[in-house]
C-alpha cells in the first residue's frame, strides 16, 4: 500500500484497539477454535496461514504486530513467514481500519465509466485519501483492482455488499446512511 495514515489517525485507532477487540499477544479460545476448524482442510498447520489471519482479523478488526506474533506462534511458523503472507493480500489489514472499509473499484471498465470522479467526490466528502481512515474511525477508503462486476460499473464493495451503478448522489446517500446507522448504534 503506497498510501499513508496520518499519525493522529493511527493514535485514535490504537486507542480504540484497547477495547474488547484487542487480546494482545495471545489468541483467545474462540479465535483458536475458529482456526482449529480450518486444519482438516489442508495438509499442514502452516497452510491455514491466510485463514488464520482472516479469522483473527474478523475478531480484532486488523492484524497488529502483536496479533501477527500470536498467530505465528499458534501455527508454528515464523513471524516473517506469516508477514510475507499477510502483506500480499489487500484484504488483510496491517493497519487499523474504520468500521466501513470502502473498496472502490479502479479497474479499466470502472475507469471508463468515471471512477476517478467518484474517488474525488469520496475524498472530498470524507476528507481522506486512499489508505486513510476518517478521524471518527468510521470510514477507510481503499482503491481496489477489478471487482468483476464490470457491466454494472462503476462499483464498490463495502463489507460483503456490492454497490453498483455508482454516482455522486448514491455515494452521498451511502455516507449519510452509514453515519446514521453508526450514530444509532452508539446511542443504543
Amino acid at each position: 500500500m503506497s498510501s499513508t495514515i496520518a499519525a493522529d489517525t493511527i493514535e485514535v485507532m490504537e486507542q480504540q484497539d484497547t477495547g474488547p477487540r484487542s487480546a494482545g499477544r495471545s489468541l483467545n479460545a474462540e479465535e483458536k477454535r475458529d482456526i482449529d476448524r480450518e486444519f482438516s482442510h489442508y495438509e499442514d498447520r502452516g497452510s491455514v496461514a491466510l485463514e488464520a489471519l482472516r479469522v483473527v482479523q474478523k475478531h480484532r478488526g486488523w492484524i497488529s504486530d502483536d496479533t501477527l506474533y500470536a498467530i505465528a506462534d499458534y501455527l508454528g511458523v515464523s513471524p516473517t513467514q506469516l508477514e510475507s503472507i499477510a502483506t500480499c493480500y489487500q484484504l488483510i489489514f496491517r493497519q487499523p481500519v474504520g468500521e466501513e472499509v470502502i473498496l472502490l473499484c479502479k479497474s479499466s471498465s470502472c475507469w471508463i465509466m468515471g471512477c476517478e470522479k467518484l474517488q474525488r467526490h469520496l475524498e472530498q466528502q470524507l476528507g481522506i485519501r486512499p489508505g486513510q481512515t476518517t478521524p471518527d474511525g468510521l470510514f477507510t477508503l481503499l482503491e481496489t483492482p477489478c471487482l468483476g462486476d464490470c457491466d454494472k460499473a462503476p462499483v464498490m464493495l463495502v463489507g460483503e455488499e456490492m454497490h453498483r451503478h455508482l454516482s455522486a448522489d448514491k455515494l452521498d446517500e451511502f455516507i449519510q446512511e452509514k453515519k446514521k446507522h453508526h450514530a444509532d448504534q452508539s446511542a443504543d
Binding site: 493480500y89 477489478c146 468483476g148
Partner: protein
C-alpha cells in the same frame, strides 16, 4: 438440441439454482454417467471435444488432464483446483456462473476429479466474491447431503470432498503456480516450470488447475457427447462461451453464445451498440492483458485462433469497449497502474519495469513528456515481453501498451505537442498518495 449448457438454469438475475431445481433440470446426469466410465475415457472425451481453457490461455483441457501420472507407480494423492480467482480487469463471467448455478461447477469438478483420480478438490475463490463463495458452500452441503459427493457417493466407492478456499485480494493468485503456493500457505509468487503442476503441484502432488467456466463445460459434454459439443461452435472451436461487454455501450452484460460468434454481433446485437453520441474507438477482446483491436477488426469470430491471428488474444472473452470520448492514453495508464500494483515482485522486468512504465505514461497523460519518451515506453514494454519473466503478468501488461502505441499513435503525439490531455478532464488520473 441444447444450445446454452452453461446458462440453461439461470433465470432471474441474482436467483440461485438450488439442488432440487438443478436435479429437475437433469443435473448430475453427467456425473452419474462419468462414474460408470473409465477415467481414461473421460479424459479422451474432453480432449477430443477440444475444450479449451476458459481462463484465457486456451490450452486443451483434456490434454492438461492427461499429463497427470497414471498407472500403478503414480502417486496416489492428487488434487483438483478450480481457479475462481477472477480478477482480470474487465472480466465478470465466473461470478455469473458461481452466483447463479453453483452445482454446475461442482458437477464439472466432480467429473474432473474422478478423471484424474483426485479425492480432494479446492475452489480457490477471490475474497471479494462473498456471495459466490457462500452459495458454493451451501451447494457443497446440499450435494453432500444427497451423497452426490463425500464419502458415500451413491453407486460408487469413489470418495471426493470439496473445500472453498477464500483468498484475500491478490491478482497473481490467478496464475496457477502462484495459486498453488497460496493454497499451501506460502507467499503467492509463481513457481518456475518445470515441474508442471500436473506432475508436482500442491504439496508436491499431481495437481490440475482449471478455470470455473472450463469446468462448467464438462457435465453436458460427458452427458451429450463430443459431436454435440463440437456442433455448438460456429468456427474452429467447439462449445459455447460466456462473452461480455463493458464500457460505454447501451446494454453492458454477459451472454452465453456459440464459440466463434463475430465480435460485431456481440457488441451490436447483444450489447446494443455504443451509447448515443459515441463511436467505438477500440476494444480489448478479453481483459486487461490482451492487445487493443480497432473497429476494422469487428468482423472477427471470437475464438482463440482468429483473435490470435489478428494480433491479440481472446483471453477471457469479456470485451472492454473504448469510446471516442475517452482518452486511450488514460486507459493504458489505468491498466498499467493495476499491473504495477499487482506485480508480485519476483522478476525484475515486471517489478521495476512496470512502475517505470507508469511514470512514463503519467508524464505523457499530463502533457509533461518529451517525444523520445514514446520510444522509451515502447522499449520498456518490450523488455516486459514474453521470455523475460517467470509468468505471464508482465507480458500481459505489455500487450495493451504496445498495441496502444501503434493504434493510438496520434493521441500519444497530441498529448506531447499540446502539453495536456485533450480529453474529458473529469477523468484525469489522481496521482497516488505519497
Amino acid at each position: 438440441m441444447l444450445t446454452n449448457p452453461l446458462t440453461k438454469n439461470i433465470g432471474e438475475p441474482g436467483i440461485v439454482t438450488t439442488l432440487e431445481h438443478y436435479l429437475e433440470n437433469g443435473g448430475y446426469r453427467g456425473w452419474r454417467k462419468a462414474l460408470h466410465m473409465a477415467p481414461d475415457e473421460i479424459i479422451q472425451t474432453v480432449q477430443d471435444a477440444g475444450v479449451r481453457g476458459r481462463g484465457g490461455a486456451g490450452f486443451n483441457t483434456g490434454l492438461k488432464w492427461s499429463f497427470v501420472p497414471r498407472g500403478k507407480d503414480a502417486p496416489p494423492t492428487r488434487y483438483l483446483v478450480c481457479n475462481a480467482d477472477e480478477m482480470e480487469p474487465g472480466t465478470f463471467k465466473d461470478r455469473l456462473l458461481m452466483e447463479h448455478d453453483p452445482h454446475l461447477l461442482l458437477e464439472g469438478m466432480a467429473i474432473a476429479a474422478f478423471a484424474i483420480g483426485a479425492r480432494r478438490a479446492y475452489i480457490f475463490i477471490r475474497g471479494e466474491y462473498h456471495l459466490a463463495a457462500a452459495r458454493l458452500e451451501t451447494a457443497i452441503e446440499e450435494a453432500r447431503g444427497e451423497n452426490l459427493i463425500g464419502t458415500h457417493i451413491t453407486g460408487s466407492d469413489f470418495q471426493l470432498d470439496f473445500h472453498v478456499h477464500r483468498s484475500a485480494g491478490n491478482y497473481i493468485c490467478g496464475e496457477e503456480t502462484a495459486l498453488i503456493n497460496a493454497l499451501e500457505g506460502q507467499r503467492a509468487i509463481p513457481r518456475a516450470k518445470p515441474p508442471f503442476p500436473q506432475v508436482s503441484g500442491l504439496w508436491g502432488k499431481p495437481t490440475v488447475v482449471n478455470n470455473v467456466e472450463t469446468l462448467c463445460n464438462i457435465p453436458h459434454l460427458i452427458e451429450l457427447g463430443v459431436d454435440w459439443y463440437k456442433k455448438l461452435g460456429r468456427g474452429e472451436d467447439g462449445g459455447t462461451k460466456i462473452f461480455g461487454a463493458s464500457g460505454r455501450v447501451k446494454n453492458p452484460g454477459a451472454w452465453e453464445l456459440p464459440m466463434g460468434t463475430p465480435i460485431r454481433e456481440i457488441l451490436e446485437q447483444h450489447a446494443g451498440g455504443m451509447q448515443d453520441g459515441l463511436k467505438l474507438r477500440a476494444y480489448l477482446p478479453g481483459g486487461g492483458s490482451t492487445d487493443f483491436l480497432g473497429p476494422d477488426q469487428l468482423d472477427l469470430p471470437m475464438d482463440y485462433d482468429a483473435v490470435g491471428k489478428a494480433g491479440s488474444r481472446m483471453g477471457t472473452g469479456t470485451i472492454t469497449v473504448l469510446d471516442d470520448h475517452t482518452c486511450p492514453v488514460g486507459l493504458v495508464l489505468n491498466l498499467t497502474r493495476f499491473f504495477a500494483r499487482e506485480s508480485c515482485g519476483w522478476c525484475t522486468p515486471c517489478r521495476d519495469g512496470l512502475p517505470w512504465a507508469v511514470k512514463l505514461l503519467m508524464r505523457i497523460e499530463c502533457g509533461e513528456a518529451q517525444p523520445e519518451d514514446l520510444e522509451l515506453l515502447r522499449e520498456q514494454a518490450r523488455r516486459m515481453g514474453p521470455g523475460n519473466t517467470f509468468c505471464a503478468l508482465a507480458p500481459g501488461a505489455a500487450a495493451p501498451i504496445l498495441s496502444a502505441l501503434k493504434l493510438f499513435e496520434q493521441d500519444f503525439n497530441d498529448h506531447i505537442t499540446r502539453g495536456c490531455c485533450p480529453y474529458d478532464q473529469e477523468r484525469q488520473h489522481i496521482p497516488l498518495a505519497v
